[in-house]
Amino acid sequence: MAEAADFIYLDYAASTPVDPRVVEAMFSLLSADGNHANPSSTHVGGRRAVECIAHAAEQLAQLLNTKPARLIWTSGATESDNLAIVGAARHREHRGKHLITMRTEHKAVTDVFEALARQGFEVSWLEPGPDGVLAADALEDAIREDTQLVSIMHVNNETGVVQNIERIGEACREHGVVFHVDAAQSVGKLPVDLSALPVDLMSMTAHKMYGPKGIGALYIADRPGVGVEPQLFGGGQQRRLRPGTQPTHQIAGFGQAAAIARESMQQDFEHLRRLRERLWAGIAHIPGVVVNGSLEAGFPGILNVSVEDIEGESLLLALEPLCVATGSACNSKSQEPSYVLRALGRSDALAQSAIRFSIGRRTTTTEIDLAIRKYSDAVTRLRGIAPEQAG
């Protein structure tokens, strides 16, 4: 097992280290002296666990400017996406079976829509522009009378491209369509005001914002026509929408991470912006390097770059000990070029050379400078080994 000093971690979009204050909040609940009781129990221990969960819900609700009662705890963003999309599609299938999403969504969304398509729903797949952004009229053109659900992510996990969820949500409201947002990459990093945003369902997860893995949440707006059919059965917890014993320590960790994010979001954002500018300035001069997505429309925690005439797997190995990604971590064992980058119009070769640098709260300028040097050296070395003949 590698020690922390053995590598430079630039994969914060895949997962973040748990903040020590979050660890402390969780650890205090696990021991015999903590609130370890089952929150479904009615005895004093159970009631104290319920209080912990209520406190965490309040912390997360404050981050999102919503009410704690609108939040359902899940195991993570994948489960939230499944519950939101399948649950809403089933909730409204008596009205129609047309659904809309984008080609560039996370697999936790695209695979759900593909499953629904096999079950008789009709899915429209919207294409982004070359910068990854959904064109203003693309959604309007796709919405039909029988459209029930639109699902568009906030920040793309591979490119960092930020979609205008306010404008998309307004179009959905205008047509009476439920709007789901996969916000796994944005909650805790960008301002999300659910009292103002026209969003009906929002998926989020703790481990992308310095909380623990294994805990997520789904926001469900209190609006007529908005609801989800449960996907799990087995108890009455969480209004039967997501039964199962609630993991008090995980939830408390998520709540603490949300409270920290609320305090440090602006400072974190400026830190990421400065470091991404430094990283891009350091590698932009390398011949053939291009940004995937858009610097202007991108969340500064992510810089995804491709480089001409370099084999991606060799580049990734040559970059060690940098921990970076070739695409989404969920997909990185695949040799296939990223479907997200292909949807942006990248060739197979260019998509296959893509490296996603993702920066976090703990990233230093020294680490960015090392990343610049490693990337530059790796490209030079691999080009030096490659045949001169064009393939």
Partner: protein
């Protein structure tokens, strides 16, 4: 299970490919297939291979396999190239089964180099 797709040997060969490069006055071959581009060149005296070099565009296993081949076959006979099989490299590196096709590109290139060397005499 470590989850590391690369053996120590593959890592070493990939990190320090001593035979990457060109040779003057050499017989060479270039192949492009299966997403791999491979250039091999050799200098011979009589039937003995005095020096081998390669250039490769491909995954780490391809680069490691090309380096391992060059290291192993310097000093051998040209006829050994004509009979070259990649199965030994596949096992010794080792190379994952899904990359068999890429290593067969190396096998084809080695045999083609052997044919060119034989015909050039």
């Amino acid at each position: 299970m470590s989850g590391d797709p690369y053996s120590e040997r593959v890592r070493d060969l990939f990190a320090s490919p001593a035979h990457a490069g060109n040779l003057e006055d050499a017989v060479s071959i270039f192949v492009s297939d299966q997403g791999v581009r491979l250039f091999l060149c050799a200098q011979c005296e009589n039937d003995r291979i005095m020096a081998l070099r390669f250039r490769a565009w491909g995954c780490p296993h391809v680069i490691a396999a090309a380096e391992a081949f060059c290291d192993e076959f310097e000093g051998r006979q040209v006829r050994d190239l004509l009979e070259f099989s990649s199965s030994g490299l596949m096992q010794s590196l080792p190379v994952p089964v899904e990359k068999t096709g890429r290593i067969l590109v190396l096998e084809d290139a080695v045999r083609a180099l052997g044919t060119s060397l034989r015909d050039s005499r």
